[in-house]
Symmetry: D2
Subunit: 143 residues, 4 copies
């Protein structure tokens, strides 16, 4: 893994928050949210973070760039249940060269449920590695 960020469980370490409800469809036969169902939540948080930064992902894509997930690391700490009100905290932890890292804390009622990091490639119109846009690099929090 080339992921370098170690996501803390303190919400104060994050710079953006996306809120949602856990769907019934996202639960499994253990009665809690399935471990794969969290990934679209992290993705939605990224999409809202980019929108709030003035660069909606639809515009990024229309401009010929995509940010596919290159690496993913998740620590599942406590379950989330159907109908829980979830906060997905997010920080752009690093952005350099052709990739960037985002850290996440998912919590309910102030209790951490998981932490995660995604590393994203920057891919240009030709499918080749591109460079992080300057506006994105500027949003990264110094380590």
């Amino acid at each position: 893994m080339r992921v370098t960020y170690d996501p803390p469980t303190d919400p104060a370490a994050y710079r953006f928050c996306h809120r949602l409800r856990a769907r019934f469809a996202e639960t499994d036969a253990m009665g809690v949210v399935h471990h794969a169902a969290y990934l679209p939540w992290l993705e939605s948080a990224r999409v809202e973070f980019l929108r709030a930064a003035g660069h909606p992902y639809t515009e990024v894509r229309q401009g010929g760039q995509e940010f596919p997930v290159a690496e993913l690391a998740v620590r599942y700490l406590r379950p989330v249940r159907f109908d829980d009100q979830v906060a997905v905290h997010l920080v752009l932890a690093a952005a350099r060269g052709a990739s960037f890292e985002i850290g996440y804390l998912v919590e309910v009622d102030g209790l951490p449920r998981l932490t995660a990091v995604t590393r994203h490639a920057v891919v240009g119109p030709d499918g080749r590695p591109g460079r992080c846009p300057a506006w994105l690099a500027a949003l990264a929090v110094p380590a």
Copy 2:
């Protein structure tokens, strides 16, 4: 609804069968397969049916056609559980003009779990309605 086929619970009424295992990820907090998780099973059965007919859906798409779902009707009869060995029976019930209908019976251990019908549009390279390919129409079972 323009769907006309009434899918029976007798497997003998069907012409193709696709088998699979119910995944844990497909269950929900009621302990059974979530009602939305069956739809990809029907889709996989269609894909295998087209392959068996000598027209893999990847080739259909490369040829510029797509068969998007235009209508869907499902009757949920009994639950399916994690790890159940599932049979998806399928019949091309009608194919005329710019659409076709497929009927399905999903059963486990000989007990019907759901029946369904999908009506599909035939869409050409320009996104406009096309006509059912002759090879497809030839596979339809007379009513």
Copy 3:
């Protein structure tokens, strides 16, 4: 199908509205939302409708009742795309005996994308058919 409600494309026919964003994870290789991904949206709209009626589904379930989907009918009219702002309009169309029907209109920018009906069984703590709660029957719109 025992579904009787024919869901109109006029939002004025509905009594409740749930809003959401189409997620990237919900799209497929045709570039639009996959036909199965709408079902959790309908489910979320039901959950919010019950909450707004003062009977959160978590409480219904704690009280020993469940409302599993017994039938489903969907007409796909136009695609929804990633990041679209979606309105799911809902009406409790009928509630009698041991089942009830809900109608849906999904629209984006005032253009209908799909209509749907779900029929739900009322199941009691013993897994046996129950009767529609009086509070639910009272929410049904006369035909």
Copy 4:
């Protein structure tokens, strides 16, 4: 992360293989399999691995144990496309105390697409940490 295993891209390092087809429902608007859709594949591979070892997961669960995912690490190397014939290679990399690690290589046509590791907790009937069953520990490959 407490995950210690570094999953190689050489299939020879793995001890079990589960094969499947990429479903259309698993693709996204980038035209390839969505990064979250691989997780149920890894889960299915685990389920088949346990079955092949003579301990189907349904029996493990009936015996009061569950193996929830505690940590997950994925490296996405190349995309998988609709209808690709996928091999999920798996190895039980470590099993000690109350958790175990599984490594995965997902490949198509001999080309690696992703590597992953999951760390699982062993949870007993009371929801408390249990110990790895001896039969499971015996399947672990020495580092």
